[in-house]
Amino acid sequence: MSKCIGIDLGTTNSVAAIREGAVHVLQNMESQDLTRSVVGEHKGKVLVGQMALDRQLLAPADTIESIKRLMGRGYRDTAVQRLKETAPFQIVEPTDGTDDDVRVVMGGKQYSPIEVSSMILKKVKEDAEKRLGDSVEFAVITVPAYFTDKQKDATRKAGRMAGLKVQKILEEPTAAAIAFGVDNVGADDSPTVLVYDLGGGTFDVSIMAIVGGSFVPLNIEGDMWLGGDDFDRKIMDHVLLHISTVHGINAASDPRFMVELKKKAEQAKRALSTMNRTDIIIPGMLKDDDGNLISVELELARSDFEGMIAKDVARSMEIVQTAIRNAGESMTADQIDLVLLVGGSSYIPLVQKSLADLFGREKLRMDVDPMKCVAFGAAIVSHKWNEKVECEKGHVNPGKNSVCEVPGCGAPLNSEITIADGVTGMPYGIRTRAEKITCPKGHENPGKNRRCSVDGCGEGLVGGDDCFEEIIEKGTSFPMEKPKTKRFWTPAANLKRLCVPIYAGSNPVASRNEMQATVWLELPDHVAEATPVDVAFSLDEDGVLREVLVALMDGSGTKVKSMIGRGGELRDRLERKLEELRKRKEEARGTLDASVEGQWEALYGQAARALNANDAATAASCAAQMDGLVQSKEPEWKLKAMGLCNWTEMVLDYSYLLDPPKTEQLKKLTRELRACIERDDEEATARKFKELDAATDELPGSVQMLMFLLQKVGLARRKGMVVEAEQVLNVLHEVEAAFRANDFSRGKAKLESIDALLKKIGGPGDSGPDSTGPINQDFLQGGKSGSR
């Protein structure tokens, strides 16, 4: 019978645990409890954990650390840019040009953070299987409480890619609380628990209430750059200064010595948790100018160590105070009933003393290994979700039962652990237009203005139509009983459709937050300005934004419900393409004849509906046609060249199937061809067209197969063959999944299985899109949020 385990997927270390009676750690095949979250490449083979670290110096650019910091983030994200400054490996934009994702380079190939994390999870899974002598099928994987839905989804995908059925994405503080058993309280008790998690590289504080066995989250705070690794570094610097002072040697330049010093610094830190003094002795590794061996010997007192780290510990306590203040009205430290210490650095006496001073020593809990409690909690939940529970008489029951189901028995079973899984780490909202906006000189303007309309002023106005209106606030618990709704207004009369871009973040400027998706609502004719529009968000059991409802509140019943799919790199790119096409169309207004505008309008509507339904293939097909329509007044040679550029960009959506040199070549040639077109240089365009055309002739069969299927989907839809289009689309997804798993023969077999269907769809049909009125869509008018 396959097993289910808990996995703490950490920034520095990962841990696997299982509940078999008691909970215990599953050691990796190097006989270590912790697997380093490091991935490297050697002779085409992927190395994970300590093995990757062993070769880090040989290939620092091909050894990937701290990949968790990049999960679910875009290239322009502050955290990504910060890591880019210090990481020895390359962090790059995806070669297909989007900035809402990020890649790392290892062994000359680009990998997404999901792929790298899946390699770590795969090793954890395989090692667990070897230790257990059984297959591991299910896992609960933990994530920090501040992870956004995109980051959680990325973690879930990494688990699936590693061959695991992810039972749940569980927040680390909740997992820790379960490991400590704080949910085992009486019916009348409802303790408030604070989880203080000081790990190697990050610090998190979570506050939750436990009510009737349920975890009710109250607040989360943290600092993702504060951790115990900083404390080791301070001891090392102290020793290096001592050597420099006493012996006049720069020991930092000796790599062998630094390896040993790092080890000794960590040992000293741990020793000072139980002793007041410790020795740091490194005999015979350094030499003086005469070649004599120097022994490094010094005593480190706990008080000296505490002096080194006092500032960092004080910072952590400030964050604790902030977390308490923001957890609810009038919450104070006295109202915290229990403080759970998690993470290796919480062993440090100064940390415990600081917490004891604030909360009282009797409230501190340290009885579960702080390095492993998160994995333990995950293992408990994993076991519960797939548990066989025995009652006191030995009858076996499904895990979800609360009493024994054997007739005549009815013995009580283990109490359910209910997890209200956390709070959202960030608010969710939409981009709106402010009702009013104030220019730098203090003049009030309508929100849609780009420049101040007051005579003699003309100052530029920014942000008027880039306001972020929260719908789900930070700290909202999930899952939600009912959606959270907020009312907005149409910004103008007679709009054809409304564009609702959705973001997660705290910046009042919407576009500076993290884009989630865009939903379009097509409007009936003659909708008046300031007609109410309700936007409702729902979070699922993992705190992921799953469902968005946009409804026109004029009694017409006009609404759209969109399921936000996060398989959506392609969707994200298409949303941006549509936005780009819309702007280009606006610029070309007045140069296109009515029938072309009508075709364009219909295609845009079709693309918007397709994206609402997560049908990226149809949207891509529409986008390609729209691109051609806007250029229709251009000469034939330009249209042909633009068409090739657009087609190549669609190929680049599958760049993971291409060699990086090929991807770079296609990107470069496309860029150059576009430049020739823009210069109106027909001759150069013809030359570059030939080059790019030749380059796209040499595509791998897998890419050609996917492009072929994509075109068939679009063709079927244009012909009104909706069922057939869906069938081909399903096959497209299956073929793509097969290719991602490097199972090309399965992909090919899938394609061959629909040969009859593809013949039925046939070649290009003669149906055309509907004709409708001109586009006039805009962002929703925001709430009465005042001037910005």
């Binding site: 078999e20 009676g21 008691a22 215990h24 190097e30 006989s31 050697h42 190395l47 300590q50 093995m51 990757a52 670290l53 062993d54 070769r55 880090q56 110096l57 040989l58 290939a59 790599p255 062998r256 390896v259 005999p283 015979g284 590794m285 030499k287 070649g291 004599n292 061996l293 008489k393 030995g394």
Partner: protein, 153 residues
């Protein structure tokens, strides 16, 4: 004994047996845990002894070139310490600690940790130039990896 009493007796025996089996299972787990803990503690003790052994090695490596011209008394002291080192070496061997060899001279992940790299155009990347700290096996597993200087061109 009537039928009901027999059934009750067998049920009681069955329940008792289940209880005993669970107890055995738990004891087995406890034994495994204890054995594992003992193994880890011994491995740590051996690692600590290896650190002492390394220190001896470094000192003797430093002394060796200068011993020729040293005074007789100094040579005797060195000899005394060498005997202590020999005792320690034999103790480690007797406990199953064996050095990691690298016959093909290439750093192997899992056996070698590369702590420094140097250029050497006539050698392939990963070739071991110097072993800064010896690695060891124990009970069929790597007790400690070797720390090496390797080629990186």
């Amino acid at each position: 004994m009537d039928h009901l009493a027999v059934t009750e007796r067998w049920t009681a025996i069955g329940e008792s047996t289940i209880g005993l089996m669970r107890r055995v299972d738990q004891l087995q787990r406890d034994l495994n845990t204890t054995e594992e803990r003992a193994r880890k503690e011994k491995a740590q003790l051996l690692l600590d002894l290896l650190e002492v052994f390394d220190s001896f090695e470094r000192v003797f490596a430093n002394i060796a070139p200068r011993l020729e011209g040293a005074e007789k008394q100094a040579k005797i002291w060195v000899g005394n310490f060498r005997s202590v080192r020999r005792l320690l070496e034999n103790l480690l061997k007797a406990n199953g600690v064996a050095a990691i060899d690298s016959p093909d001279g290439i750093a192997v992940p899992g056996l070698h940790t590369i702590v420094e790299t140097r250029e050497q155009a006539d050698m392939e990347d990963g070739t071991i130039l110097e072993e800064m700290q010896r690695g060891y096996f124990w009970q069929g597993n790597v007790l400690r990896k070797a720390l090496v200087v390797a080629v990186k061109n």
